[in-house]
């Protein structure tokens, strides 16, 4: 007589290697997956394929030169990374930027957040088979990059901030372009949502997938939309406001279950909130200086006009170019809300013109650690959906 268990096929576990060159790993992530049939038993991310030794490299650059490295760290949201870095250096020097510079920084950082979420949505949707979404998202991303380019001169790597302000004053054209963008963008978000939010295929492929509970999310030190998708209302912009974020009125969107779909909804809503911040900032930008040179002449470069027309301005600009700024001895930690989560900079100064140590707390690096418990028990095809929903950027993971 046969019993039921005799008909079951016994399967061995086997290893599947995904990446580092795989179209859906968003860069050079390699995941070593252990499979039982089609079920993921264990998924181990192997990182380091883009290691650029940026933290070490920053120790041989002056404070302003090292800013350019932070662009290449999280290359989809350059202006946001620059903000974290420059706030850390400003705290080290005890410098405060004028209100106008802070507002322009907020506008740039929030524009970058939208463009970063657009890249995420585009690639995530392509991974799950929605190619149209890619074309839609990149269409609007180009508009944002145009705005960033008008004021900073670069598309992805602005390096526009200086200690105590901005490199140049933001001109009228920048604000006009931003205003026209604010006008058209809300209906574009509805357009993205029309394709996905109630789409049967999208729901099937994202709902109840990669669930991470609020407790686990905290234990794994998740931040950003990955944490908020699990229902925790933590945002550095609200919890510990920097760069005049306390002036703006905005909500922190949160999810309920912490699945892939919730993280998607959180990011879509975050784009709307960012737009709200931008529109408040554009309307309320104060007039005045864009560099606090008068208050802190020992750390802040002189405004361009002063440097070209006055003798002492010229001398001090030359001095900053040759020697760099020399913050007092000390160490600081500053964290900001990057599109991916909490981005922290820990800077140590020994009083010289070069940072003694720059340590970065990258959000992607911490978020990727939770990948294993998110994918356990799911199909191997869902691994791609889950991996995409965490929004990992390998430039930031490996640094």
């Amino acid at each position: 007589m046969f019993e039921y268990k005799d008909f079951l096929i016994e399967t061995d576990k086997f290893a599947l290697n995904i990446g580092p060159s795989h179209p859906a790993t968003h860069g050079v992530l390699r995941v070593l997956v252990q499979l039982d049939g089609e079920i993921v038993v264990n998924a181990e991310p192997i990182i380091g394929y883009l290691h650029t030794s940026m933290e070490k490299y920053a120790e041989f650059r002056t404070y302003h030169q090292a800013e350019t490295i932070t662009d290449r760290m999280d290359y989809v949201s350059g202006a946001s990374n620059n903000l974290g870095y420059i706030l850390a250096v400003e705290k080290l020097c005890g410098v405060k930027a004028p209100k106008r510079a802070e507002y322009v920084r907020v506008i740039l950082a929030e524009l970058t957040r939208i463009s970063s979420h657009l890249v995420w949505l585009a690639t995530h949707a392509v991974d799950l088979g929605a190619l149209t979404e890619f074309l839609y998202c990149f269409r609007e991303r180009e508009l944002i990059l145009d705005i960033i380019e008008t004021v900073t001169g670069a598309r992805m790597t602005p390096s526009f901030y200086r200690v105590g302000g901005l490199a140049m004053d933001a001109h009228k054209d920048f604000f006009d372009k931003t205003r026209s963008f604010i006008k058209i963008f809300p209906e574009k978000i509805s357009e993205y949502e029309a394709l996905l939010t109630k789409n049967k295929i999208w729901l099937e492929r994202t709902k109840n997938l990669g669930i991470i509970s609020a407790e686990d999310a905290i234990n794994f030190a998740l931040t950003g939309p990955s944490l908020r998708g699990s229902g925790i209302k933590y945002d550095v912009r609200k919890a510990n406001p920097y760069s005049s974020y306390e002036d703006f009125d905005f909500e922190i969107p949160t999810g309920e279950t912490g699945d892939v779909y919730d993280r998607y909804l959180v990011r879509i809503e975050e784009m709307r909130q960012s737009l709200k911040i931008i529109s408040q900032a554009v309307e309320n930008v104060p007039e005045g200086e864009y560099l606090s040179y008068d208050e802190y002449p020992q750390y802040v470069i002189p405004p361009k006009k002063r440097a070209l027309t006055t003798m002492e301005g010229m001398i001090s600009l030359f001095k900053y170019g040759i020697e760099g700024i020399k913050p007092p001895k000390g160490e600081v930690y500053v964290s900001i809300e990057n599109p991916r989560g909490e981005l922290g900079f820990y800077m140590v100064s020994d009083g010289s013109a070069f940072p003694y140590r720059m340590r970065v707390r990258p959000p992607s690096f911490c978020n990727i650690s939770a990948l294993n418990i998110m994918v356990k028990g799911h199909m191997v095809a869902d691994l791609i959906a889950i991996m995409g929903s965490v929004d990992i950027l390998l430039g930031e993971v490996d640094r």
Partner: protein, 164 residues
Amino acid sequence: MGIEEHLGDNIITTSLDKIVSWGRKWSIWPATFGLACCAIEMMTVASSRYDFDRLGLIFRSSPRQADLIIVSGRVSYKMAPMVKRVYDQMPNPKWVIAMGDCASSGGLFNVYSIVQGVDRIIPVDVYIPGCPPRPEALIYGITKLQEKIEKGTLKHEDPPQILR
């Protein structure tokens, strides 16, 4: 391809050369192979404003179906064997574009972990400067590569070897 080796250079083979080169020129299929910042700009070129497809470029997910590899970003020593492997998996004829400063020469990152130019491991046809290059720059690089392909022949040529 075979037959032209027996016929030598005459009107038939050179005419065939022209036709085939023209065909190759307008159907370059790049491999979906992104490394760092430049990969985002590479994606942008495929998107609506710049529209790669009008030049006949379609991204292929498998290197076996591709004949162009755009090395888009910094190549670390850990990644270098994989870049070489992807290149080796591509069928002949194949071309390489080093996109951006990092892929061309190491660029900004003269550090212990970055290969100082991808031409140390695979032969490069077109170098595109910029950090990252604008999408227009990549399109210009593609047109330069098309000019190069146009002058190519059918004769079987071993890909250039790196003597290092």
